[in-house]
Symmetry: C2
Subunit: 216 residues, 2 copies
């Protein structure tokens, strides 16, 4: 590509690093956040940690495995923020909305990281089991909240998953459009989220008659 930076080196006392795997993940994430995923270079990351290029190969199979691990951690963080928003918001209607806001905020605040999670850097067709598990964990936070919201209504599990997917697709779409600059006017993301959740709210607990399956 284009030129490169001088790469600050950091010495280290012992031959072994201590916890290189952890440090590699942190450094990779920092780099992704700073200059995007294309700026991630095994040599540069190694240099920054005062370690040689290829040291990484004792902890990850290859570059993609590193990015997969970063993506996995992203899903974990995302789930934590979703759960926090849900619980801090009082596990009610407003809390659910607040989950959605937290989701989009995570994506917009860490666009490059979010892209690593969803941008196909990871997954040609073989899905990493840890990544899949963590991604499903984040999704489960949505499902749990929805189920909790509907405790009064009689709903089949399938419907909860479907609703959660609906919400997921929506916030994911808003996040992606936001990241890609398709909602460039200031406040457009928030406005859209407000509109979408208002639309959503009028159907989750209140109107079982608008459900297609008619579960009553």
């Amino acid at each position: 590509m284009t030129p490169s930076k001088p790469a600050a080196r950091k010495p280290r006392r012992s031959y072994h690093h201590g916890n290189l795997r952890r440090a590699l993940l942190d450094e990779a994430l920092a780099t992704i956040h700073a200059v995007g995923v294309d700026g991630v270079t095994l040599r540069e990351i190694g240099a920054r940690l005062g370690v040689s290029r290829t040291a990484l190969y004792r902890h990850f199979a290859d570059k993609r495995a590193l990015l997969t691990a970063v993506a996995t951690e992203g899903f974990r963080t995302l789930r934590e923020q979703l759960v926090t928003a849900w619980e801090a918001g009082g596990r009610g209607d407003a809390a659910f909305r607040s989950m959605g806001v937290a989701y989009v905020r995570f994506a917009v605040a860490n666009p490059a990281h979010y892209r690593v999670m969803f941008g196909g850097f990871v997954d040609p067709q073989v899905r990493d089991p840890e990544l899949t598990a963590e991604a499903e964990g984040a999704f489960q936070a949505l499902v749990d909240a929805l189920v909790s919201l509907q405790h009064a209504a009689v709903v089949r599990d399938d419907d909860s998953v479907l609703m959660a997917r609906h919400v997921w697709a929506l916030v994911h779409g808003v996040a992606m459009l936001g990241i890609d600059g398709h909602l460039c006017e200031p406040g457009a993301v928030d406005e859209l989220m407000g509109y979408a959740f208002e639309r959503l709210r009028t159907g989750i607990a209140a109107n079982p008659d608008t459900r297609p399956t008619q579960a009553r």
Copy 2:
């Protein structure tokens, strides 16, 4: 990365190629479709066209410019397919749903191309004007359809844009989740689309009273 293919060369009679720019775009798109965007190599593409690497630089500033052009064409064909679905479907309720299906179908049928359009391969922060225009054209197809659907109701323009963005985020989210394998069960994408559009339908033309003005 890993190995590579022998790269079929194609001779050519005249020194000049004729329409290399067009051929480069087609070949790039074919490669993207076949092996993904990481498989796109200037050398390989050149070889396939019976032309030397760097020939590309007479038609595009660099690799990214090529991908940007591919993304631009993606938005153009997407818009065409959306408009076709809308018109062929009779410009009514069903046609609108059919637009959504067409959108998701385009993404799922051409995942790698779709990723080039949205995956941030293009846009560090500087948005290409042609790309932006074409993307807005595709979005406009949604807005137009929505406005047409609401010809009876009294709606401000802002609301139409907002609704269109809502729909866009939704189908974009469904498409992305589908592409990324987060909806892996067969039929999950269609099921989700059905559910989401059922939800959508009950609010576009019918219920002006569910607009966000009043709470609860």
